[in-house]
């Protein structure tokens, strides 16, 4: 089948969306952008293609609607098992890479000990992996780096203590290896992984039956032809595509938001390093936009620094901030000094949740300024980008929008991080349809 791909190469994450000829999204994929852009694009694209397979499976079964719950259960099981397979594969790669680091004069005396310790760490990581992908399990993040990283740190601390080794040393080995692993796109054939995942599901006693297998096979057989690709985002100038395949991220975000919510007139996107306020018309055409200037204050990375400082995941900041009812007043949103300010305030005895709530408010205040600069907020208003996942940021935004612009419908989609990629995919589809840009159907 024909597919259209949009890739949004963000400063923190790279997102891909796969669209069919009916303008239906069939797959979404996301990965860390850090390190290598080429790889990031490839990985995100691959992830989207995998996601698309599951959509195709579902379509295959939706056709006759038979045995819905059982099928759904089966597909979920299959997906989890597939993710687990992927995880284990990368874990294996990480272990080998780590072991490869154990050489040179630094390790002359302790090499064996370190190797043993690493073996132990990875044995434990493998052992706990299935639980992480069990039904209902919550993971800290979807990225290998984050999941494996946080568990590695925890496990390595124990192992190092038991073995009388320096914890810093084990950390260092990890820090060195993870970039290399991340920069290698997942190897191994997809259908092999699907097969192994199927075996796992079967082993769990969920006997799929012949019919199921036949349909899965059929869906796997559909060829996903990459008809046209459009790239966008922060890193678009470095994208390995030619100029016709590149659109400005402003246009893509505007169009993407329009496709999700056709009534959208104002879009706010807060990503890792930039905040954009965009005004669009009834056809999704950009009327006006503003971005932050060269200072990256108050963007997503700001939260990243705070999270690092507090030793938390970015996902956990919002919920903690929600516990506050009297945010501390914070004026500086310099990303780097955020940590210093945090320490200052903690030392003054202020509560963590209040400070956090204040920091969130500071970010949103900055975003409000950018929105105001771009022409204010009109109905409907759509909030996109990574920070839209953060409930405390959303709470402050809702408050401030109401205070300044009155009753406005605010749209936030759980998949809003894909907005730019979605716009890109639609531009790709239009390009093939023979109209470069312009209004949609």
């Amino acid at each position: 089948m024909k597919t259209f791909v949009g890739i949004d190469l963000g400063s923190t994450t790279t997102k891909a969306v796969l669209m069919d000829e009916e303008r239906q999204i069939i797959g979404r994929g996301i990965t860390n952008s850090r390190s290598n852009y080429d790889t990031a694009c490839r990985v995100a694209g691959q992830e989207a293609a995998i996601d698309a397979r599951f959509t195709l499976f579902r379509r295959e079964f939706d056709a006759d609607g038979a045995g819905q719950t059982r099928v759904e259960e089966f597909l979920c099981g299959l997906e989890r098992s597939f993710r687990l397979e992927q995880f284990l594969e990368q874990l294996e790669d990480l272990e080998q890479t780590c072991l490869g680091q154990v050489k040179g004069e630094r390790f002359e005396k302790i090499g064996d000990g370190v190797r043993q310790a690493l073996g132990e760490v990875f044995r434990r990581l493998r052992a706990e992996a299935p639980a992480m992908f069990a039904p209902g399990a919550v993971r800290k993040s979807d990225f290998f780096r984050d999941i494996a990283g946080s568990r590695y740190l925890a496990v390595a601390e124990e192992v190092a203590r038991d073995a009388g080794l320096s914890y810093d040393l084990l950390l260092n080995v990890y820090d060195k290896s993870i970039i290399a692993v991340e920069n290698r796109p997942p190897s191994g054939s997809l259908s092999d992984k699907f097969k192994r995942a199927l075996d796992r599901v079967t082993a769990q006693g969920m006997e799929p039956g012949e019919e199921l297998i036949r349909r899965v096979d059929r869906a796997l057989g559909i060829e996903l032809e990459e008809t046209y690709l459009v790239g966008t985002g922060y890193g678009r100038v470095t994208l390995p595509f030619s100029k016709e395949h590149i659109r400005s991220e402003i246009l893509c975000h505007g169009l993407g938001a329009h496709m999700m919510y056709p009534e959208t007139r104002t879009v706010l996107d807060i990503g890792g390093q930039d905040t954009k306020g965009i005004q669009i018309d009834a056809r999704g055409i950009v009327e006006n936009f503003q971005m932050n200037d060269r200072c990256a204050a108050g963007c997503g990375r700001y939260l990243g620094y705070i999270a690092d400082e507090m030793n938390m995941g970015v996902h956990e900041l919002g919920p903690l901030a929600m516990k506050s009812d009297k945010p501390t007043r914070i004026n500086s949103t310099c990303t780097v000094f955020a940590g210093a300010e945090l320490r200052d305030r903690l030392a003054l005895g202020e509560r963590r949740e209040d400070i956090l709530a204040g920091l969130h408010r500071a970010i949103i205040l900055r975003a409000m300024s950018i929105l105001s600069r771009s022409g204010g907020v009109s109905d409907q208003f759509t909030f996109t980008g990574g920070v839209a996942k953060n409930e405390a940021a959303v709470r402050e935004l809702k408050k401030l929008v109401f205070e300044n612009y009155g009753e406005v419908t605010i749209n936030i989609d759980p998949d809003s991080i894909y907005t730019g990629a979605l716009g890109g995919a639609e531009f790709a589809r239009r390009a093939v349809e023979g109209r470069m840009e312009g209004l949609n159907g």
Binding site: I330, N331, S332, A340, L365, R366, S369, S372, R373
Partner: protein, 391 residues
């Protein structure tokens, strides 16, 4: 009636300072039908004329560190100082909706352009860029200034619907002469016994004069001077310094406190120059407008926003202030991106260096939150004066 204590007076002034809705000015206006309020920005405006027109001159000094600026940033790039953006915020958020006119004194290009922005944003309100001469010969700059003041007076007459007589003006000059005398007294007290009237208190007390009717403010000053002078406060091992550069965008109160915390006694400053711009009393006899012009041309404070025609005189006013107050050093504290203050600074520093007066310099913004670097710099300054002047 017992006179209020210093802490009561300071508490009242602090409440006035923190009130971003200008409640007292609103109440003053509401108390009698037909009353009008004229806002003005730093640095100097002849408040006497507004007073003579029966109106309340209201000093607008930005939003400080308590105002959340949401729309203001939409009008200003990051490399422009804060005061115009927080002033715009005050306007857009309706906090100045009771103000019948706005004056933008000639201090720099930012305020100058703000005057045009105000006209565009609030076309229904009277607003004026108040141009002043930078040449000081009577027949040239003086004539021009009298022309500008007269035009302004006519504007106010039109606004109020009544004529301003020479006696009205004389009365107003008298009232402001008194106020300026009291302000000078307060500065003298602080220069003499800085522990009795700490800078952070004196600041609030003078700042109250930006929003109160002048008569009320004079009374408040009298009370504070009496109460603070009488109080017995411990003397600290601090250094006497002059702070300069803060004539427009105001520092957060915490900054002034931080300076004191790190060991400074501020014995002179250039906060709210409007309250002591004219040096000495303006004569009451003769043509009042002419007298105001004379005072402006020949008896007014020096500051970075003014042209100094005589090269030899450049910066000497600081040296004189140091000698007068017995200061041990000068702190240049300027708002970030403030062209007048920052461009003038090197010239003033040269003058101080030549006179062997120690100085330091740093920048702030009205909403600066982090005082640690400022404490550190001021503290080191004090350390170095203290550790070695004793040795």
């Amino acid at each position: 009636m017992t006179t209020p204590s210093t802490s009561e007076i300071v508490a009242r002034c602090k409440a006035l300072y923190e009130d971003l809705n200008f409640t007292t000015a609103r109440e003053w206006k509401a108390a009698e039908a037909g009353r009008k309020v004229i806002g003005f920005m730093p640095i100097y405006i002849p408040r006497e004329i507004i007073h003579a027109a029966g109106m309340l001159p209201l000093g607008i000094l930005g939003g400080g560190d308590n105002l959340e600026v949401i729309h203001g940033d939409a009008y200003y790039q990051s490399y422009i100082c804060r005061i115009p953006r927080s002033t715009i915020e005050l306007g857009i958020s309706g906090r100045l909706d009771f103000v019948d006119g706005m004056l933008f004194p000639s201090i720099c290009d930012v305020i100058r352009n703000l005057s045009g922005m105000w006209k565009t944003l609030f076309p229904e309100v009277y607003s004026k860029y108040f141009d002043v001469p930078q040449t000081y010969r009577d027949e040239i700059g003086g004539t021009f200034y009298i022309g500008e003041m007269t035009a302004f007076m006519h504007d106010l007459e039109e606004l109020s619907g009544r004529k301003i007589t020479a006696d009205d003006l004389r009365h107003s000059i008298d009232v402001y002469n008194k106020n300026r005398r009291l302000v000078r007294d307060l500065y003298a007290l602080r220069a003499q016994k800085p522990w009795q009237a700490p800078a952070s208190e004196a600041y609030l007390v003078i700042r109250a004069g930006m929003v109160l009717p002048v008569e009320e403010h004079s009374e408040l000053l009298e009370h504070y001077i009496a109460a603070a002078g009488a109080e017995d406060r411990p003397i600290k091992d601090n250094c006497r310094v002059i702070v300069t550069g803060m004539f427009c965008e105001q520092p957060p109160l915490n900054l002034i406190k931080s300076l004191e915390l790190s060991g400074c006694y501020v014995v002179d400053d250039d906060f709210m120059l409007v309250s002591r711009w004219l040096i000495g009393d303006v004569p009451l006899e003769g043509d009042p407008i002419h007298n105001l012009a004379q005072a402006f041309l020949h008896h007014s404070e020096s500051t970075a926003a003014k042209y100094e025609p005589d090269r030899e005189e450049k910066g000497q006013f600081l040296v004189r202030a140091v000698r007068r107050t017995g200061a041990e050093g000068v702190i240049f504290a300027s708002p970030s991106f403030c062209d007048p203050a920052l461009l003038d600074r090197p010239m003033q520093q040269n003058v101080l260096a030549a006179a062997d007066i120690p100085y330091i310099a740093f920048k702030y913004a009205e909403n600066s939150g982090q005082m640690q670097p400022i404490r550190e710099q001021a503290g080191t300054f004090v350390d170095s004066i203290k550790l070695w002047s004793a040795a």
